[in-house]
């Protein structure tokens, strides 16, 4: 099935997310859609799959103009999209989720589900609750569902984020087989060049809303980088910082939540050290991070901050003792929609019972300039872009904390914003701050960590020297293949 997009435009407020995009996508091929965050690739794919209407432009399928509204109608036209956060219903069983939207009865559906899963080697039990699946299994279930609906063109949005090397291989095998044997079109939206190089026959490249390139593979990483950014980047260099005294120490800690247990974990972070936490979503790294700042109380063991026993102390006590914490969801946990920038700064910094409005405004203006936040002091926070929100969060943190504990500090940021954040972090590290961060991005973990802890279902594996590990090794480790890996040792 050939798809032709002609003169597609899409505006979000004043941002021209898709600017006059014209491209032809041939059937039976795997096509990479490249571009950095905010380049407009997700928007274009959402238009193609019916989740958003284009402001103007035409789509034709096999030479015939196609007009459709809504994802359901797109599927009827043979186009289905696997979202980054798959659109399933966590409260359903796998079977119910598969059945929902399909015109089959329960028995037929079960047969169909098992049959398609087996064809691709997917491990999907029809009676498991969706809420218990890993992200890779949720992707598989969504692929099975879209195939059962008769989709001929499959769009995948950043499918390799947060899955293990093994799961990635299975996914790639599946996509190969869909394109080669079933003649389907596969569109792979990604900013990971190695994935695109490994899999794609062709790439189209977007930059700032425009189509800037369309080329056949193979191509080298350098060529693709030049297409994506218009320039080449030097790989980040990491300076060695002499490590100081231990700052944060977890001693024989047992942590438990609804889903998993981390048993007897002992580790410490020293001043000036960067420790990265790797793992699939929900493998335990979130739990450990929250234990490090007192939001989760350990069931056993102790937590020591700069020589002071903090076990069981409330979160605010950790803050006062020099820990800074940044959660993953900025507007859910960290910033407060409805409060202005000034109010945020006053909340984080002032302690006087009376608020001096003028002083607070002035202080805020200084912080905004210092941290390069584009926004006015009296604006409500939700009007800022993601990058600016993250910079403001940074501005709200203490200047020289003992340790910074950060959940996915660059999630959803464009390359510029992400590298700015790291500049700030590395500067604070140089003055002796210890940094603990988690990330779903293996490149980021390898690039910035001195030491890496890998989590899998509550087990913890330590890589002592992060410079000895490759991204591929790490991909296998987060899939739980600890045995036979020579890079480090089991912690818990």
């Amino acid at each position: 099935m050939d798809i032709e997009l002609r003169n597609i435009h899409k505006w979000f407020g004043s941002i021209h997310a898709n600017n006059d995009i014209t491209v032809t996508l041939k059937g039976g091929r795997i096509i990479g859609v490249l571009g950095e965050n905010g380049a407009g690739k997700s928007t274009l794919m959402k238009i193609l799959s019916g989740f958003q209407p284009a402001d103007s432009g035409e789509i034709s399928i096999d030479g015939k103009p196609a007009v459709y509204h809504g994802p359901q109608a797109a599927i009827a036209n043979g186009i289905g999209m696997l979202q980054q956060d798959p659109l399933d219903v966590p409260a359903f069983s796998v079977l119910e989720n598969f059945l929902f939207g399909l015109s089959l009865n329960r028995k037929e559906a079960r047969k169909r589900l098992v049959e398609i899963s087996q064809r691709f080697g997917f491990d999907l039990d029809p009676d498991t609750p969706v809420a218990n699946l890993t992200i890779a299994q949720r992707q598989q279930q969504e692929i099975v569902r879209l195939l059962a609906l008769g989709v001929k063109t499959l769009i995948l949005d950043e499918p390799t984020t947060g899955i293990s090397a093994e799961q990635k291989q299975l996914l790639f095998d599946t996509l190969q087989s869909l394109a080669r044997q079933h003649g389907m079109t596969v569109l792979l939206v990604s900013h990971k060049l190695e994935d695109v190089i490994a899999l794609c026959d062709e790439v189209i490249v977007l930059r700032a809303g425009k189509l800037v390139g369309d080329r056949q593979m193979p191509a080298t990483t350098q060529q693709l980088v030049r297409l994506m950014f218009g320039q080449e980047f030097a790989p980040p260099t990491r300076e060695r910082v002499p490590l100081g005294e231990p700052v944060l120490r977890l001693d024989g800690v047992l942590l438990r939540d609804k889903r998993l247990t981390i048993d007897t974990c002992t580790f410490q972070v020293r001043a000036g050290e960067v420790v990265g936490l790797a793992g699939l979503d929900g493998s335990g790294q979130e739990l450990l991070i929250r234990a490090c700042v007192g939001l989760v109380k350990p069931n056993r063991g102790s937590i020591v901050l700069a020589g002071q026993d903090m076990t069981g102390k409330p979160y605010r006590h950790y803050l006062q003792c020099g820990i800074a914490f940044g959660a993953a969801g900025r507007l859910e946990e960290g910033l407060i929609a409805g409060l202005t920038l000034t109010e945020h700064v006053a909340l984080a910094n002032e302690t006087d019972p009376l608020i001096d409005c003028d002083a607070a405004r002035e202080h805020t203006a200084n912080q905004l300039a210092l941290y390069n936040v584009r926004g006015r002091a009296e604006d409500p926070i939700e009007q800022l872009s993601g990058g600016n929100q993250q910079r403001l969060l940074m501005a709200l943190m203490p200047e020289e904390p003992l340790a910074m504990v950060l959940e996915q500090p660059t999630r959803g940021l464009d390359v510029d914003s992400a590298s700015w954040i790291w500049q700030q972090l590395l500067a604070r590290r140089a003055s002796g701050t210890a940094i603990v961060f988690s990330s779903a991005d293996l490149d980021e973990l390898v690039a910035y960590s001195d030491r890496i802890l890998v989590f899998y279902a509550g087990q913890v594996y330590e890589i002592d020297d992060a410079s000895t590990v490759t991204i591929d090794d790490l991909g296998h480790l987060i899939g739980g293949e600890f045995e036979g890996s020579g890079a480090g040792r089991r912690l818990a």
């Binding site: 994802p71 659109l87 409260a91 359903f92």
Partner: protein
């Protein structure tokens, strides 16, 4: 089993009926992701309208069956309209559903009192006692469950229909998905907000029916202050206690009704000397106790006392996560 106990159990079933119907109605509404907080007002309003409609029609010379049917329909319509206002306010006009629901609680109760002022304490038509032949002769079960009236029998049917609709039917999938993850429902071609309007109105109609069950059967007639005041809040709490599952919700309704029966029994027992006034505390204390149980890990702490294998099973039975999208708005782009 002695007759008095059977009588009491039978009256528990009868008295629980409006709570069963109302809390099942609210369960359906909340499963679709809408909170209709107005129950305590809309039950009162629909009870009044149901009675007044039935009474007026019967006064005009119509047969008692016709007047009762019209009374029930009027009550259901009133409940559905109040619920629809909540839905319109919450969905189309983007108001806080809790705010709209709360205002309607007071408004509906005020309306009932004002419009019903000329109809207080007069006798009107009531739904006749109708034991089911054969079934009512079964020992024990017969007297408890099958010597009642049509409202009670309808509530039995409603329990199973609700369960079947939610968990076994194709449309039930859409209904639950709309309350759990509207984005996923939208992606499958479901008109999320239309579903929400429909099920909110349906749930509201059932709340109205519960009102009619009071004024045409259990507490016949109309009075100020209304006798069923407070039961709307109890029904809302029962939905939470029941973990949004029809069977457990019904269990909760019977539990509350049993407790009431118990307090009347205590009042009639001379050996126990508790101020009858203080017995009125019981439902409210129970309401808080059950809510504490299901939230805040109360259940979890109790479960830890059980042996491990039973723990897991019980935990699954007692799972009670609210619909994930409850009270939120969905707007397709």
């Amino acid at each position: 089993m002695n007759d008095e106990l059977l009588n009491i159990l039978g009256s528990v079933v009868l008295n629980a009926t409006p709570l069963v119907i109302a809390s099942l109605g609210e369960t359906i509404t909340e499963r679709a992701g809408v909170v209709n907080l107005s129950l305590d007002g809309s039950i009162v309003l629909s009870a009044m309208l149901g009675f007044v409609a039935a009474y007026s029609v019967s006064q005009s010379g119509a047969g008692s069956e016709i007047s009762l049917i019209l009374g029930v329909l009027a009550a259901m319509l009133a409940g559905a309209i109040v619920a629809l206002i909540v839905a319109i306010g919450g969905i189309a006009l983007r108001r806080d559903q809790v705010a709209v629901g709360f205002v309607l609680t007071l408004l509906a109760a005020g309306l009932a009192q004002f419009l019903g002022q000329n109809f207080t304490r007069i006798p009107g038509p009531t739904v006749p006692y109708a034991p089911i032949s054969l079934l009512s002769d079964i020992p024990i079960l017969g007297p408890i469950f099958f010597r009642h009236n049509i409202f009670v029998y309808f509530s039995y049917v409603l329990i199973f229909v609700t369960w079947f609709w939610l968990f076994r039917s194709r449309r039930g999938l859409a209904l639950r998905a709309v309350g759990e993850r509207p984005e996923a429902a939208f992606a499958r071609g479901v008109d999320v907000n239309r579903q929400r309007y429909v099920y909110t109105a349906l749930g509201g109609a059932l709340v109205g029916l519960a009102g009619a069950a009071y004024s045409l059967s259990i507490k016949p007639g109309w009075a100020t202050p209304p006798v069923m005041r407070g039961d709307g809040w109890i029904a809302l709490a029962i939905v939470i206690f029941g973990g949004w599952h029809p069977f457990r919700v019904v269990l909760g309704a019977y539990l509350f009704a049993s407790l009431r029966a118990l307090s009347t029994v205590i009042q009639r027992t001379p050996e126990i000397s508790i101020s009858p006034v203080l017995l009125n505390l019981l439902p409210w204390v129970l309401m808080i106790a059950t809510l504490v149980m299901v939230s805040s890990g109360g259940v979890e702490r109790l479960l830890r006392l059980l042996p491990r294998p039973i723990q897991k099973m019980t935990r699954n039975v007692l799972r009670s996560d609210p619909p994930a999208a409850l009270g939120t708005r969905f707007e397709a782009k």
